[in-house]
Every structure is written in structure tokens, then in C-alpha cells.
């Protein structure tokens, strides 16, 4: 019984290790008035203040490397200038952004109704496109067979 439970435990830890998700953590170097260049974490907690960006980056970089964080260096106008990832494990490939849905419900209908209508429109469009492709393929096939028959006739007449 005890053996079994240990084995179960081991398999569970192995599975959890395998399926451990990559969750990036960030450390930011940004400008704040009147403090100057600051290092802050992803919850906007200020960790240290510096006179120049270079100084702040020199402090932040080893910290990011040690903790496997992503260092985000900002411009003075807050736009991101550079992303430096120090995560050493395997990372999943980047994915297209996820859709964020509005907070307010639609005014004149329901979300489900909009979704259903969009699905129908997409299906209709795909059917139309498939028909177009079918027609163009048929035209190509017909022209090819006509050419072949012409070639056949020519060779027969030459004989």
C-alpha cells in the first residue's frame, strides 16, 4: 500500500514537472518623475531608484538573470525599448494575442445571437469560396482536356 502510494506520488511529481507551465515574470526599468530611473516589479512596486537608465539596468540585469525574469527596459515616455528574457527552461512558441471581450453587454441583442450570426456568415463565406475554387478547377480541367484533344487530333492528322 505504502509502495503504491509512493509510486503514485512519484508519478504525480513527474507529471507536474513535465506539465509545468512557463509563466513569465517581469522586472521593469522605467522613468518616474521626480525619482528618476527606477526598477519596479510587475505589481508596480519600486525596488530601487537610480540617476541614469544605465545604472538601473546594471543593477536590474543580474537580478533578472538570477531569478530567470524577463527584463523590460522602457524609454522615458514609458514605451518599451527592449525585452531581455533570462528564462533558461524550455518555452512554448509565442501565440497570437487572445481576444479581450467588452465589459458592457450588447445593447440591442445578446452575445450568443451575435456569435451565431457571425458563425453563419463565416460558413456562408467559406461555402462560396469553396464553390469558386471548384468552378475554377473545373475550368482548368476542361481547358486541359480540350488542349489534350487538340494535340491528339493534330498528331492523328500528321500520321
Amino acid at each position: 500500500m505504502a509502495k503504491n502510494s509512493a509510486a503514485n506520488k512519484n508519478s504525480v511529481t513527474a507529471r507536474s514537472k513535465r506539465t509545468k507551465k512557463y509563466v513569465p515574470k517581469y522586472l521593469h526599468v522605467a522613468y518616474r518623475y521626480p525619482e528618476g530611473w527606477i526598477i519596479h516589479n510587475q505589481n508596480y512596486r519600486t525596488l530601487s531608484t537610480h540617476d541614469t537608465r544605465r545604472e538601473a539596468v546594471e543593477v536590474a540585469r543580474p537580478l533578472a538573470k538570477k531569478n530567470e525574469f524577463t527584463l523590460v527596459i522602457h524609454r522615458r515616455d514609458n514605451r518599451v525599448m527592449k525585452w531581455e528574457s533570462y528564462y533558461r527552461g524550455p518555452k512554448p512558441p509565442p501565440q497570437p494575442p487572445k481576444v479581450m471581450f467588452p465589459t458592457d453587454p450588447p445593447r440591442t441583442t445578446t452575445v450568443e445571437a451575435i456569435d451565431r450570426a457571425i458563425m453563419e456568415i463565416i460558413e456562408e463565406r467559406r461555402n462560396k469560396e469553396a464553390k469558386k475554387i471548384e468552378v475554377s478547377e473545373r475550368v482548368v480541367r476542361r481547358s486541359k482536356s480540350q488542349q489534350q484533344s487538340k494535340v491528339g487530333l493534330k498528331s492523328a492528322s500528321q500520321r
Binding site: 512557463y22 513569465p24 517581469y26 521593469h28 522605467a30 518616474r32 518623475y33 505589481n43 508596480y44 512596486r45 519600486t46 525596488l47 524577463t70 522602457h74 515616455d77 514609458n78 514605451r79 518599451v80 525599448m81 525585452w83 528574457s85 528564462y87 518555452k91 512558441p93 509565442p94 501565440q95 497570437p96 494575442p97 487572445k98 481576444v99 479581450m100 471581450f101 467588452p102 465589459t103 458592457d104 453587454p105 450588447p106 445593447r107 440591442t108 441583442t109 452575445v111 445571437a113 451575435i114 456569435d115 450570426a117 457571425i118 458563425m119 453563419e120 456568415i121 463565416i122 456562408e124 463565406r125
Partner: protein
């Protein structure tokens, strides 16, 4: 050490749009809404239905405080044909946003602003204090505005976790959405020229969800 106060929900993904809501600007507004949604961000604007009980200025103040990103179009500075006066709403809201960045909570100091104009340096003639914000010119063109919004928001996305679609791909998808929109309007008896914002925003979001960008 400065202690940050609680962040509003989705603060890092909210984009406040301050632009004219007239018919002439509608195509650009729709293009901006589509581009912002296609990049995985959430649009907030004064046309939102929530906080309906509040006065307009209170509503705008709250929206600005909820968004890390904001897009301000100050291109409509021409004199009104009826009153012979310019409209000051957009520059006023831009000022409110810059003020929030300066004097707001600790996380507000990280706010990022995009200023749009029709021509590149025209703003210097009527709002020279804006020097340093570097407004970008869209020339009243949907493709340009999508490109500017995409290039501006691209840097806010971690390249290791999110793949940013190109401006031309977003524009292509927006054109396809425009083709589908009349059919959608027809199925709900909507007037395509006068859509309530929440209906439009949901249509955009659901359309994007049903037409995802391929991951490879």
C-alpha cells in the same frame, strides 16, 4: 519604498480611445477599435454604456484611470461649419490623461500615450506644448492608422509569449470584417451607419474570436 495601490481589472490591457465620434471619423474609429482588439487589448471609450449615472467628465476620468494605454486623435481642429468654432474635447482629454500620468497613482506614471494627427507637424501651430509626445500622422487613412496602432502596441507585447500580427495582416482582416459587417447588420436589422458602440465592440470581438490568426 512606494506602495502601489490596487490595479484596476485588466489595467495592462485596457486602451482608452479619445477621438471624434462624428460620421466623417467613423471609419478611422472602427479601424482603431478593430486593430486594438486584434492585438489582444480591450477598447474603452466615452461611448461605453457603463457608469451611465455619472457625468461625462467623471466617466472620462474613470476611464482614463482604468487604462494603461490611450490613443488621442487631435486631428479635428477645423472650425465647425455652423458655429465657426473648433472642438476642444480631444485636446482637453489628452491633457487630463497627461495629468493623470503626472499626478495619479504610482502605476499611472507608467501610462503610455499615442497622439494621432492628420499631418505630421501641424500640432506645432496650435498646441506646441505637446512637443516630445511625437504625434504621428494618419492622413485620414485606415491602413495608416492601423499600422500606427499596431507599431505602438507591438512593443507592449512580450515577444516570447505573444506573436504580433503585422499591420498589413490586421488591415486585411479588417477589410474582411467590413465585408461581413453588412450581413451581420442585416441579420439584426441594425443601421450600419448608426451602430451602438457596445454592439459594434461585441461584433468585432466575436468576429476575431471566430476568425483567429493562425498560430503558425
Amino acid at each position: 519604498m512606494a506602495k502601489p495601490s490596487r490595479l484596476p481589472a485588466n489595467y495592462e490591457r485596457n486602451v482608452f480611445i479619445n477621438c471624434p465620434f462624428d460620421d466623417e471619423y467613423k471609419s478611422l474609429f472602427y479601424a482603431i477599435v478593430f486593430a486594438v482588439n486584434d492585438l489582444g487589448f480591450k477598447v474603452k471609450c466615452a461611448k461605453d454604456e457603463s457608469n451611465a449615472g455619472k457625468s461625462r467628465i467623471e466617466k472620462i476620468r474613470d476611464l482614463i484611470a482604468e487604462c494603461k494605454f490611450s490613443i488621442h486623435d487631435i486631428s479635428r481642429v477645423d472650425l465647425d461649419s455652423v458655429n465657426k468654432l473648433p472642438r476642444f474635447n480631444m485636446p482637453f482629454e489628452l491633457g487630463l490623461d497627461l495629468g493623470c500620468r503626472q499626478y495619479g497613482k504610482s502605476y499611472h506614471q507608467g501610462k503610455v500615450v499615442l497622439v494621432l494627427e492628420t499631418e505630421q507637424y501641424r500640432y506645432q501651430k496650435y498646441i506646441s506644448d505637446l512637443a516630445g509626445c511625437d504625434p504621428v500622422a494618419h492622413h485620414d487613412c485606415e491602413e495608416d492608422v492601423i499600422d500606427h496602432v499596431r507599431n505602438w502596441l507591438r512593443m507592449a507585447l512580450d515577444p516570447d509569449s505573444e506573436k504580433t500580427p503585422s499591420g498589413s495582416l490586421i488591415y486585411q482582416r479588417y477589410q474582411q470584417f467590413q465585408v461581413d459587417l453588412p450581413s451581420l447588420c442585416a441579420s439584426f436589422n441594425w443601421n450600419a451607419n448608426n451602430l451602438p458602440f457596445s454592439d459594434f465592440a461585441w461584433s468585432v470581438a466575436r468576429w476575431i474570436a471566430r476568425n483567429p490568426i493562425p498560430s503558425t
